[in-house]
Each structure stands twice: as C-alpha cells, then as structure tokens.
C-alpha cells in the first residue's frame, strides 16, 4: 500500500500540530505549554521533510554520487534547519520568561500569571 505510506508523514504532521495545539489550550503548567509549542513546531519539521522526500532518492551530497542521480530535495532540509534555529530561540526565550515568572510569583500555572483581565 504505497499510497498510504506516502501520505503517512502528512498525517503525522497534522496529528502533531493538533496535539501541540490541544496541549497549549489545556495547559496547567507554563513549562508544559512551552513544550507543547515545541511539539506543534515539530509538525513543521515532519511536513517539510515529507514535502522534499523522493522515493529512492539519495542524500543530496554530491561528493560521492554523480549530479544526475536522484536525490531528496535539499532546499526543504535547509528550511528545516532554519526552523530548528527559530525553535531553539523561541523555546529558550519562553523558558527564561517562565523562570522569571516563577521567581516573581512562585508559581508556574498560567492561572496565577494573569494579573490583567478585561
């Protein structure tokens, strides 16, 4: 069943996206919310790699293969690496905020963080 196998990464990407979203919406812990954001983002990794995959393609390193050989798309791999960098920065910044919040209020619950409403 090759068609099912080919569409599997897309389902995985969609599933991860929804998992992350569900996690953030129901989160009771700020660190948990940040990790859920990271999970949401990993759906984009899977999606990008799935988009660039070619059946039977080699790794796009032309040191030991000829340039006419079928390779997987290197562009999306570059995009994914950029995406990893973005994630690292976002997660680091958010976790730093969580540490600060814990220092100030002694709590890591999003309910205790909110001071302004309405």
């Amino acid at each position: 069943m090759p068609s099912v196998l080919h569409s599997l990464p897309y389902f995985v990407a969609g599933w991860l996206f929804l998992c992350g979203l569900y996690g953030i919406v129901t989160s009771k812990h700020l660190v948990h919310a940040v990790i859920c954001l990271a999970i949401l983002q990993s759906s984009t990794y899977v999606l990008l790699l799935a988009v660039g995959y070619r059946v039977g393609g080699a790794a796009p390193i032309f040191a030991d293969i000829s340039t006419s050989e079928l390779v997987v798309d290197p562009v999306v791999q570059a995009l994914m690496l950029t995406d990893v960098v973005v994630e690292a920065v976002v997660v680091a910044l958010l976790l730093a905020m969580v540490v600060k919040a814990h220092e100030k209020s002694g709590s890591v619950s999003p309910d205790d963080l909110r001071t302004m409403r309405g």
């Binding site: 996206f17 919406v25 949401l40 910044l93 905020m97 100030k104 409403r117």
Partner: protein, 610 residues
C-alpha cells in the same frame, strides 16, 4: 536594468550588525554612549532606506539578488529583495519610528542593562527585511525575527508579573501564528517547488484546488494574528499594556500593520490568479472579519481606562478598518490602505508618546489616577493640544492625513460596490476618537469628575523611568509633536499620493509584478485620482468627530445629564462577554486562534471552492 543606488542589503545589514556590535559592547559602554550609537545606527538605516525609496520612485522598481544569484530562466535560485516604493516606504517608516522611539527613550527609559537599544535595532532590521523581501521563506524568517525581538522588548520590565503575562501570551500566540504560516509555505512549496513569491505565483497560474485554498487560509490567518484581527487579536492589549512606551509605538505604528501588508503582498503576488473567479467571496470573507474587528475594537476601546490598553484596542479597531479597505479589492483599495497605514501609524505613535510622557511625569497610566494631571505638567498646553489633535485624527477628520486614506477607501468601495464601509469608518473613527477625547477632557482639562474605572486599570503600570528625574525634556515633546505635525503636513502636501497610487497599481497587478521581478524592468501603470472623494470623506470624518465628542461629553458630564442621555457612561462600563474574552490565559487565546482558523477555513471552503 536600473541598479539601486546603494546595496539594498544594507537596509537589513546595518541595523543587524550594529545590534551585534552594541550587544558585544554593552557592558563597557555608558548609557548615553549606547543611546547615541543606537540613534546613529537607526539614523543611518533611515538614510539608506530613504535613499532606496527615492531611487525606486525616480528610476522605477528593481530587484536585488543577494550574493549575485540571478534567476536562471524563470527559476529563482537566490533570495531577491524587491526595491519598489511600497516596500522601501514601509522600511523607511520603520526606521523613522525607531529613530523617534530611541530619541524618546534617551537616557531615561529603563533599558534592562542596555539590552533595549540592540533589541530595537534587531526589531528594525526585521521590519525592513520583512518589507523588502520577495522570498516567501525569507518573509517567514523576518516574521520570526521580528516576533522574537518583540517578545523580548515586551518583557523587558521583568521586575513585575504583568509584563511576563503580556509577553508570554504574546510569544505563545505569535509563535503558533508563525508555525501556521510555515505550514502554509511548506504546502505551497510542495505544490510549486518554489519559494520566490513571483515564481510561486507564476507556477500556480490560475490553479485552484483544495491544496491552494488551504495554503492561502493558513498564510492569511497566520499574518492576521500579527494584524490583530478578531478573533486573533487577544494578545495585543496584554502586550501593549506592559511594553515600554517606545516599543508600543513600533508595535501599534507598524508591526501590526505589517501583518496586513503581508496579507496583501501574498494575495497579489501569489494567489491573485488562483482566485480570480472568486474575488467576491474572498473579499466578503475578509470584510466580515474586518467588520467584527472594527465593532469589537471600538466598543472595547471606549470601555478601557488604562491608557495603553485603550490605545491598543483603538489599534485593533483601525487594523480592522484597514483590512476592510483592503477587502474592497483592487489597486485603489491597496493605495488607500497604505495611505491610511502611514497616517494612522504617525497619529497612534504620537498618542503613545504622549501617554509615555504622562507615565514619566505623573508615574501613572490609568485614567482615574491621571484625572486633571495633565494640567500640572510643564508644556501642558502643547501636550493637551497634541493629544486632542490625535483624537481628531483617529476620527479621520481634517486636518490629519487619515482623511486621505478614508477618502480613497470610500472611492474604492464605490467602484467595487461594497456597502457599509463608510458606516464602519464612522463607527470605528467615532468610538476611538471619543475614547481619546474623553481621556483628554479628564486629564488635560480636568472636566467632570468621578472617573469610572475597570479591572485592568486597577492593576496600573509601574513607571518605566527612574523616579529621581521626572523632568520633561524637549526630546519628550519632539517625538509626539513630530508624529502629529507630520500627519498634518502630509495631508496638505498630497504629492506622495501619486507615487503611492502608481506603486500600488504595480503591486496589485500580478503580471506587472512578475515582469518586474524577472526582468527588473518597471511596467508603468497609473490609476485614477481620488481627489474628488476628499470633501465627502471630510464630511464623514467631521460627523464621526461630532458623534465622538458628544459621546465623550455625555460620559464626562454624566452626573449633570438625565439618566436616558448617559450613553457615554453606559458604553464606558463595557460589555461583560467582551471583557471576559480578554481572559489573560494563553490557552484561551490559542483556542480563539483555532476557532478563528476553523471559521476562516470553513468559510473559504464553502464560498471559494473550485
């Protein structure tokens, strides 16, 4: 091919490298040196962007391929910066606002051990890159860079819990938006194998299938989160309430509007051909979201008593007005939206600067505590006059330049038979002007008494400047005065509208845009003037202003009025469900984003299916 006078990459590289150098040196440099260097780099960027702008106006649009990676045939292999008047104009505006913000923060605004200046420069680099780039993935990278700098700037005052709430919610919602955009980009890449916007547009042609529709939904909704369109707007008031004043100026003045610019850009460069037969439905969907935004923003703006939150809701309302203008469709609407963007950015920036002056001198930002405080300020007359002028401007009444944008919007709506736009402008302009005028009457005139308050206003905000110096310096006045007076000046020197109209015509014409991108040659396109629509717009602006003034007066003097006439006081208490929506919980905000995505997506699937 006309080469740009200087390398356009400098518009991004100068502030970015400057920020890196300043960060490295921040521990050894005195505050004043950091400020001076930051201001200098920002001025240099302003100069570069303005030069690029003038070059593109005089010699036509051009494309700069980074690293000399020219396209092979119709395949773009490198990243292109598109040097046309609109993108360079936005970059110039970003540099101008950053320069004013850095001037305003000179020596007094707390900088979190000199982190402030480099972050502002990174923010500027990201905004100018976002405006110039012609590559979709590059757009995402600058979107994220802009967001990350913004999160950090927003949470700069980490000595209190409220900034953490504001910046955490801001960071979570806007990161989700970023990943929604990235998913859309990945889908488009899978469909076309291209990342250059023009090449994607060329490759899609008139293709219209569920994949394209899905990608459009994701990209548009992602950017609408940045543009604070209901129901994606919830992060904005929290972020504005806690960010330092000079940062608020950049958020409200340009960052939010860049979301709308991106929506317009991807629509015209990529999807215009795909949805050519569904223009009506597309515009109705955008128009419905915009109308909801104007209504909610207007009502909530009047119900707020925390000055920055009030101005934040007014930004939401005006962002809705700009999206409604865009939804009228066509190059004229695009030009009108951009004219409105420029004028609104100036006026809103001026109002934020003025609220920053109040916070600096009176150590408070809420309306009840500031009652009659404006009269005790030095320069009270000037500050009060600027504040009231800002209020008049928000109503799109003469003599401020928002009027020109409103006139164009109305003209575009007439041409495309879109109804109700003028009512939206009167409502949105009237409500936001009423809120600003009410604060002006309370704070600067000391009229009325017994100011109504609300829950958010009771939290207040700790001052962002050091307590030992409450003096108001000339540079505290220069920034707001420049903003408001510039908004008046450009209304009387409307020569720039020609340039804007022609540039918008070129941007909104997909074949012309593709031609420019690939050959670097400019296709001259012109469109009719909307000069004849200005008197009508002035009338509507004055009507909005009149209604707004009446509302504000009925609120300020409510105790002298019979109960049925206290409309203002009634509006001022706000509506409980709308306040409850603003819960302050990041999970709720993301839930609303999901709901908005689902609504937008199902509307697109029902009304725009192939």
């Amino acid at each position: 091919m006309m080469n740009p006078p200087i390398s356009p990459a400098l518009a991004v590289a100068v502030p970015l490298l400057g920020a890196a150098a300043l960060t490295g040196a921040r521990k050894w440099l005195a505050r004043a040196v950091m400020d001076a260097l930051g201001l200098l780099i920002s001025l240099a960027t302003l100069f570069i962007c303005a030069w690029l702008l003038l070059g593109s106006v005089h010699h036509g649009a051009s494309v700069y391929w980074l690293g000399g990676w020219w396209p092979r045939g119709s395949t773009a292999v490198g990243i292109g910066l598109v040097i046309e008047p609109i993108g360079t104009g936005l970059a110039t505006f970003a540099a101008l606002l950053t320069t004013l913000a850095l001037l305003f923060s000179w020596r007094f605004v707390e900088t979190g051990s000199n982190h402030f200046q480099p972050l502002m420069l990174i923010f500027l680099a990201a905004m100018s890159g976002f405006s110039l780039t012609g590559d979709l993935f590059n757009l995402f990278v600058f979107f994220e860079l802009m967001s990350i700098a913004a999160f950090a700037l927003c949470g700069l005052k980490t000595a209190e819990p409220a900034p953490l709430q504001g910046s955490f919610n801001f960071a979570i919602t806007n990161s989700v938006a970023g990943f929604v955009v990235l998913t859309g980009i990945a889908l488009l890449y899978s469909a076309t194998g291209a990342l250059n916007m023009a090449q994607i547009g060329l490759s899609l042609g008139t293709r219209h299938d569920p994949l394209v529709l899905f990608a459009w939904t994701l990209l548009t909704c992602g950017f609408l989160v940045k543009a604070a369109i209901v129901p994606f707007h919830l992060w904005l008031p929290d972020a504005h309430a806690v960010a330092p004043t000079p940062v608020c100026v950049l958020f409200s003045g340009l960052m939010v509007e860049l979301g709308l610019y991106a929506v317009a850009r991807i629509h015209y460069a990529i999807f215009a051909g795909c949805f050519a037969s569904h223009h009506g439905a597309l515009h109705m969907i955008l128009y419905s979201f915009a109308a909801a935004t104007v209504l909610l923003g207007g009502v909530m703006c009047y119900a707020e008593h925390h000055l920055k939150r009030m101005l934040a809701f007014s930004t939401i309302c005006h962002s809705g007005l700009m999206l409604a203008t865009l939804a009228a469709g066509g190059p004229l609407a695009l030009a009108a939206m951009l004219a409105y963007l420029l004028a609104h950015g100036l006026v809103k920036g001026g109002l934020f600067f003025l609220s920053g002056v109040l916070l600096h001198n009176r150590r408070s930002i809420t309306e009840p505590e500031l009652f009659a405080a404006g009269r005790k300020l030095p320069w009270a007359g000037t500050l009060g006059a600027l504040w009231i002028l800002g209020g008049i401007g928000l109503a799109a009444a003469p003599p401020l330049a928002l009027l020109l944008g409103e006139a164009g919007a109305e003209h575009a709506a007439e041409l495309t038979h879109l109804h109700g736009l003028s009512l939206l402008f009167i409502f949105g302009g009237g409500m936001t002007a009423a809120a600003v005028l009410r604060v002006g009457m309370h704070t600067f005139f000391g009229w009325g008494g017994g100011v109504i308050s609300d829950r958010a206003a009771e939290i207040g905000e700790l001052p962002e400047t050091k307590p030992e110096n409450r003096k108001i310096h000339p540079y505290h006045i220069i920034a707001p005065a420049f903003c408001i007076l510039f908004a008046i000046a450009i209304a009387f020197l409307p020569g720039w509208l020609h340039v804007l109209r022609d540039a918008a015509a070129a941007m909104a014409n997909q074949p012309a845009y593709l031609h420019t991108t690939y050959t670097g040659q400019n296709v001259p396109l012109t469109q009719p003037s909307w000069r004849e629509a200005i008197p009508g717009a002035a009338g509507r602006g004055l009507l909005a202003l009149g209604l707004g003034t009446l509302l504000a007066l009925s609120s300020v003097f409510r105790n002298r009025l019979p109960r049925p006439l206290r409309a203002g006081a009634f509006m001022e208490h706000g509506f409980r469900p709308l306040r409850a929506m603003q819960s302050g919980h990041p999970g709720d905000y993301v839930l609303w984003i999901t709901v908005g995505l689902a609504l937008f997506g199902s509307a697109a699937m029902i009304f725009m299916r192939a």
